[in-house]
Amino acid sequence: MENLSYLFAAYAAVWVLLFVYVVVLSRRNRALEREIDELRQLLQRHQAS
C-alpha cells in the first residue's frame, strides 16, 4: 500500500527526532554531572590546603 510509506515516514520522523533529542540531552547531563563531581573534588582539595 502506497500510503503505508507515508505513515512510516511520519512515525519515523517523530521517533528519530525524539530519540536524538533524548540521547543528546542524556549525554550532556551525564557529562555535566561528571564535571560537578570533579569540581567538587577540586574544591575539597582547595579547602584542605
Partner: protein, 234 residues
C-alpha cells in the same frame, strides 16, 4: 534534595516510555482504519497531541517568562528555556507530520489553513526565542529579552490565529476542509486519541524535566567554577 529528584526521574522516564509504548499499540493495532482516508489517517493520533502540546509549551514559556521578569530567579528562566526547546521540537514534528498526512489525503503538501499556518508562525517565534538567547550580551540579558518575546508572542498567538482564520474563510481557496474533524465516530478512535494525548503529555513533562535538569546542572557547574576561581563564596 537530590533524592527527590532521583525519585522524579525514576518515575517519569518509565512512565513516559510506557505511555508511548501503549500509544503505539493503540495506534497501530487497536484502532480501526478510517474508512475515508485509509491507513494514513493514523498519523492524526500523533499529529494532534503534538500540536496541542506545542501550544501548551508556549503557554508555559509565557507564564515562566512573566514570573522570571517579576521574580528574577533562575528557576523560572530555566523552566522557560526548557519548555521552549521541547516546544520547538514538538512544533517541528507537527510541521513534519502535517504535510506528510496532507499529501496523500488532499494531494497537496501545504495548505494555508488557520491551524497549520498559526503553527508555522509559532515555529518562527520559537526560533526567534531560542536565537535571542544566543545572540544576546552577557549576564541576564538573553534571559530577559527572551522573556519579553515569550510574553509578547503568547499574547499575539491568538490574534494571529484569528486573523489567519478570517483571511482564509473570506477567501475560500484550495481546501475548505478542516483537518482532523472528520467525525471520530468510532469510540475506539476517541479512546486512542485521548490516550495519545495523555501519553504525549507525559512525554512532554519528562522531556522538559530532563532539559531542565540540564539547565540546572549547567548553572551549578557555572557556580562552582566561579567558586573555584575566586576561592570564596560565589
Amino acid at each position: 534534595m537530590s533524592s527527590n529528584r532521583r525519585l522524579i526521574d525514576l518515575i517519569l522516564a518509565p512512565l513516559a516510555g510506557l505511555g508511548m509504548l501503549l500509544a503505539i499499540y493503540m495506534v497501530f493495532i487497536y484502532v480501526p482504519s478510517d474508512q475515508a482516508q485509509g491507513i494514513v489517517q493514523r498519523i492524526f493520533y500523533f499529529h494532534v497531541p503534538l500540536a496541542i502540546m506545542t501550544f501548551l509549551a508556549f503557554g508555559v514559556v509565557a507564564v515562566a517568562s512573566v514570573m522570571f521578569l517579576w521574580q528574577g530567579t533562575r528557576f523560572w528562566d530555566r523552566l522557560a528555556h526548557s519548555a521552549a526547546e521541547v516546544g520547538m521540537l514538538f512544533c517541528t514534528l507537527v510541521l513534519i507530520t502535517g504535510p506528510i498526512w496532507a499529501r496523500p489525503v488532499w494531494g497537496t503538501w501545504w495548505t494555508w489553513d488557520a491551524r497549520l499556518t498559526t503553527t508555522l508562525i509559532l515555529w518562527l517565534i520559537y526560533a526567534a526565542y531560542l536565537m535571542m538567547r544566543t545572540v544576546s550580551g552577557p549576564g541576564d540579558q538573553g534571559a530577559r529579552y527572551a522573556a519579553i518575546l515569550g510574553i509578547v508572542g503568547a499574547v499575539d498567538i491568538p490574534i494571529i490565529n484569528r486573523s489567519v482564520y478570517w483571511w482564509r474563510t473570506i477567501h475560500p481557496a484550495v481546501l475548505v476542509t478542516r483537518e482532523g474533524s472528520s467525525g471520530l465516530n468510532d469510540p475506539r478512535m476517541q479512546a486512542t486519541l485521548g490516550f495519545c494525548f495523555v501519553a504525549f503529555f507525559l512525554l512532554f513533562v519528562w522531556l522538559v524535566w530532563v532539559r531542565n535538569e540540564n539547565a540546572r546542572l549547567r548553572d551549578a557547574v557555572e557556580g562552582m567554577r566561579q567558586h573555584v576561581l575566586t576561592g570564596h563564596e560565589a
